[in-house]
Subunit: 459 residues, 4 copies
């Protein structure tokens, strides 16, 4: 049996190829939209794709099932409860697929969505016992799927489904079984996913708090207590996946834009994402642009900052960066990409248009001005990070609040220094604050890492 | 706790980064010689390397511990029984290392080598119970380490050690524990490693035949029955690793060679490796050159065909291919790389020097000449592949036998058609046969895959 | 004044940027279809494009004027006699354009086409005297424009125009003037263009035979005596340029094709161009495919082998090669590119489909079989090359004749060895012969270069 | 005859390949140190290098003659008056070399150096008359070679030599002859070289002021009046070229450095060159680093800012940028390159070390603060640029003066805004001023281009 996990780092999306080179057949589970990886694997291993599984209607990324179907003619399989508008084959609990030595059994495991399934996989070439379970968005490493994305009206029902799926359906499976979820760290489909991309049932039963509640009441209390951020993109992604997303070949192609053309699109309402690193953005940027650089979480940040139907303009250093960015955007269905600033930021500068800075302040410089009525310091990290240690006297306003315009205590005209862990998120926050009219914003260079490394304490 | 497995596809070498971003420390286990991956991970995660573990003295690849030490100043740690000629810290059974939430316990698990260790890893941030065991070359997915590489005189002792380590030392560990070995498919440190790069103790206890012998006698009979190929490179690699390999910065740099210079080095005994694909090599190649193209197993094939102290000349399509090839060669300690043919094969052709072909024959063409006293057909695949189905009337001479000059039944002057699965290994075989004076050798284009796809049967 | 010549190596197309950074204006003369070079120059030098000149309606390459207009909004300027179907500004003899220190005067110089112009350029920042003349397709280095492309019915009139333009219009210009033509070596708009891309009027007056006829009668006799090859592409290009070519953004995008899809398109009549080098093509190729590898003249060869409205399939080693090939094809208006064989030739081989070889024979091998009734040797080079030395006993059948199916003396069933200079054109010829049913064709590896370098004589 | 000019954009170095493919021989004139271009041309055209000419001992770039000799075994030829410490063949006036149709005659034309030669080239395949003259550092397009680099004590003698070479030796050559100098724009071997890379004798006689003096006295007055900048690098380059430069294979290889290692080298006196663009450098940089980004003149700026025996550290965005930078540095003999900051500037920031900004001010912002006792504005451009238009009220302090520490009127504690044309040179100036202790320096974003484009006037 052939098995391979494919990781999309930023979004934490995990997809899988399972096949048997002897019979030259392969299935793909939860494919991402840029499907070249699967085609390469199929070709390298001498297999062709015979089935495309989606474990549920995804909320956080555009399904690649349709791209893959267009490239391979394989059918798309999804649980019969999924209400989708495209041609597919319906899956039922207990259904079994056999490809040579690979045996795949469908388990209906609703909870994250009503149509969620898990796949129990046996490598009959090695043993008649199952080897692993693909848990979709039901069970993650260190967490479980959130019950709220499929609709606020069915949260309670979904919480019950989650409990049944986790505590009853999976209960009969052995400890040694490997667990391969549809998401790892980075995903917002759960609260606190681990950076590890797989685990075992036995270990999760010991280490995963969500598998250790005494009864449904306690479980439900926790699981419905507080939900993670729901990015602006999620509703749009769910709708798109249910309808069947457009093929990438129908989307825009690369487009260099002159400063004139770029500015014209800005005036028509397009959003400018500047992908350069924090230092470069700080030095000079287009007023109103948002700094979302290349970092694992990039697509998640875009989903939080930009509305899904926005026209998008991009500032990049190189054409390769533009292509990388468009791949990330297409993954979350942000397909209205107008183009990039030809010649980069220096073309803008030389055109004599207004520019803005987002000054970096170094840890030493900040330390020097702290005592005597210095700037308002804003920590934009998560509660967990804040609790683990922060600069004394700082205000904690998580990035999400800033993006929502929810920072009542910070006057527009005061000196503000934002910081995060490394300087990445503080530049998102800083550029957003500038866009909202805060006129004296700086960003702590290197973030709390730099602060600690410079020998200053965190409390 | 941070955890990441790094895979070297061809050789099947697996290395690991384990760390804790909170305390910003990371260990690397069994690093490969090209260490940029580890430096990148450390930087991306904000950690620095504090310890470098080798689970034993490797036989199949040059340890990257010394490169990594040069780049990070971290100490190299190896079991106290390892007789090595470089500065290191000695490890003892039961020793524990703690880096923030990562807890690593040393288990002395000899068998593959006397100095072999496993590492039991606990993520104290998630649970006090251990999460995984890094088994070095003791336990693989689907196989165990071979006992013969450390010396023929101690095979029996090593077999006993293997049994004790596997059946007693690991016996107390729970089923749910993840197993992360030092090798996956491709490695010649075991007989039949799986393509999967990790497993669980419970699954291996069910599916791995080497964990299911009733007593030591039966185990020993199997484990000493037959050993996999031992490439020409292994003794040299063991010696080099024990002494401490030279740093790559001391090795040769890129060198384009004219046909004149190239030919002069050939006359001085240098070996020519032609990395082009099967079709290109077949069309025209330098007489005496060996066709080892880019494929996962590349480095293993080099290790079987070329002696470790050979001077090596390379034929490539592009300079990038040359750099890729040198990385592969350095991994197995083949550091005497003289350079590549500048201008590629067409420079050689235009220089008017003799050239040779290794004609491809298509499945249809071969089928047409089979009946009436056609060519001798030689299947160079493994016994397992042969047994699973081969062309009727073919002779089975595994590639290794051909490389060893061990093919008594094949006359030098007869028409020969060699085949493998895809046409890759048959070109190695064909070029080796040509080098040994066989004058009428052809290769089946696309191998048994093509044969089967063309609708001809295998028996 | 800013001045830069841009060379398209294969087709020999020369285009020019002339501008004045002080006033930040630049004109482009005879742009190629892939216009990024001009945009880069404009940006790097801080200028914007204000005028786009076409010196005439080109016959050998698609004008980039329309792409450049779409990117810059600059007007397209062409002589008033040009009958074109797109919006433009008409040029008249004597018209002067001034951009800062750059002064450009239009000279109507018909002959190659009725609408041909030259541009006399003065750098007033250096001198009031002119510095250079851009001669379009009137005067080349070592040759002049051919009079036949604009139509067979007006050849005589065009010959007269050529004479007048060269012997009268240019006569008043000084010897020291630099000459920058629209074409250099590689172009088929003349007979024997030099590899040098510029010259001076004085030197051409001394060295160019076409400027040294005693009277019109002698000139006309020579200029209408024999025309160079007229590729299949020219009529289509002329029509397309007159109508205004489509923008590249409207053309097909990249498309990987499986062997199944590829074969289906072949059955629908698509032409297969295999761009791999001679050795690789020789080793194994798709029956019916034509070998046109990456070489300067690539686009010209395509224009001779393939009809302009053909659907085109491409075999490449890498995706980069595919992109390079599509750029070349678009330059000559071959826009119906269906895609490339995903996985390259080895995907085809492994699919078990029929393949063909075009055996390379080395100079030594050919020499050995020459004496005793050996193969028919066919020299496919030009008459000039043939006359400068060829293999004794060879037949001279220029490649163009082979492409036209015009080789009466060569029986289909005899052994044939084709050769050229390096082995490039002989592979075009060999693959064309195979396509036409010649069953025993080989190609001399390294061509006459190899033959001579191997010490065998040419007569 | 084959002829090709190879341009090194930044330094303005021009080298030449002249050969005859028929006899397969090629000479290279004034090769640059990175010789791959010549090897590629030789291979592509089927020629081998038979002679390597240096037209004189170069002062501005390391000769590539020695690299080329090592790769081809061809002899190095230089005029007999050149006192060099390596093996070579001596050239005499009137000596003729013939390679097939290429005829090359040596003209001794001292002036820039006592050992300067020109080469008169005839393409006997086209005409018995000469076609071009390679003028070395005697005659440039728009200028002539400066007489002072070979030594202050012989300036007068060299001025006389220049006059004789230009006004007598070249006088007999015809107007139509093409002129191919050893340098174009960018070179500091003359005062005001044109951006055009070739010309004709006739045009230079009309347009080049240095060819139009009535007598030697007037010529000498002008030619010795004022010399262009002499970068720190020139003496070292002359010595190195006279001795014979080391081969690049003996120079340092790539070296990533951690912030710790980087800082340690800084403390040992190494110079830090930051190659990022102006915006990025402005945002955050290492205190004491100099901003010399990728721009044509890069190597010249390095030669002015950094002493030749300095150890050099580099800050880059990518490894490719590092390789590009090392090529540039090796061209001018700056071989002591220690390595680059691994992880780029963000690794430095996160390490908590001090950082600095060089704030960009936009044209609009500067305009707003001009009236009311605003900053001191410093124009660092050349006199010519200053005269063509500058910001009213600015001080003119050419960049060279700033680099020499020669800016008496600017107090260390005042607000300063530096500007140039585009923002490139002002960042060199700004970083140098910061290094010299000026604490309130800003740079005008986009320079005078931006100022003018923003609608503000220049006077």
């Amino acid at each position: 049996m052939f098995f391979k996990q494919i990781v999309v780092e930023g979004l934490g999306c995990l997809s899988y190829c399972i096949g048997c080179p002897r019979v030259r057949k392969m299935v793909v589970v939860d494919p991402k939209r840029d499907i070249q990886d699967y085609l390469d694997i199929a070709r390298d291993e001498g297999m062709h794709v015979t089935h495309i599984f989606d474990t549920h209607i995804h909320a956080d990324h555009i399904s690649g099932a349709h791209e893959l179907q267009a490239a391979t003619d394989a059918p798309i399989l999804i649980h019969e409860d999924a209400e989708v508008g495209y041609e597919h084959e319906s899956l039922r609990d207990g259904q079994v697929f056999t490809l040579g030595t690979a045996k795949i059994e469908v388990l209906h495991t609703p909870g994250h969505t009503p149509n969620g399934i898990s796949l129990l996989v046996t490598d009959t070439g090695r043993s008649a016992e199952p080897e692993m379970v693909l848990t979709g968005d039901l069970l993650f490493v260190g967490d479980i799927g959130r019950p709220d994305l499929a609709g606020e009206d069915i949260i309670e029902e979904q919480a019950r489904n989650l409990y049944t799926s986790l505590y009853e359906k999976l209960a009969g499976l052995p400890d040694y079984l490997e667990v391969y979820p549809a998401h790892g760290q980075g995903s917002l489909c759960g609260k606190s996913l681990s950076g590890k991309m797989s685990s075992t049932l036995g270990y999760e039963r010991r280490a995963n708090p969500m598998l250790n509640f005494p009864d449904f009441a306690a479980f439900k209390a926790e699981v419905t207590k507080e939900f993670p951020i729901r990015p602006k993109s999620f509703s749009h992604i769910i709708e798109t996946n249910a309808a069947g997303p457009p093929l990438l070949s129908a989307c825009h192609i690369d487009q260099p834009l002159t400063p004139d053309q770029f500015e014209a699109e800005m005036k028509d309402g397009a959003v400018v994402i500047d992908t350069r690193d924090a230092a470069a953005f700080s030095g000079a940027h287009i007023p109103g642009s948002i700094n979302i650089g290349f970092e694992k979480q990039l697509a998640n940040w875009v989903g939080m900052v930009v509305v899904p139907d926005a026209d998008i303009l991009i500032v990049v250093n190189t054409r390769e960066d533009y292509e990388r960015m468009t791949t990330e955007l297409h993954r979350i269905g942000y397909d209205r990409i107008l183009g990039y600033l030809s010649g980069g930021i220096s073309a803008w500068l030389m055109s004599g248009r207004p520019t803005e800075r987002l000054d970096q302040i170094s840890a030493h410089q900040l330390d020097n001005v702290l005592d005597n009525g210095g700037p308002i310091i804003v920590d934009v990290r998560t509660r967990g990070e804040w609790n683990a240690g922060h600069i004394e006297g700082a205000h904690h306003i998580p990035l999400q609040c800033i993006l929502d315009g929810n920072c009542p205590d910070v006057p527009h005209d005061k000196d503000i220094v934002v910081y995060c862990g490394s300087g990445y998120r503080s530049n998102i926050a800083g550029s957003e604050l500038q866009r909202r009219g805060y006129s004296h914003v700086r960003s702590l260079a290197g973030g709390s890492f730099a602060w600690a490394n410079a020998g200053m304490g965190l409390t």
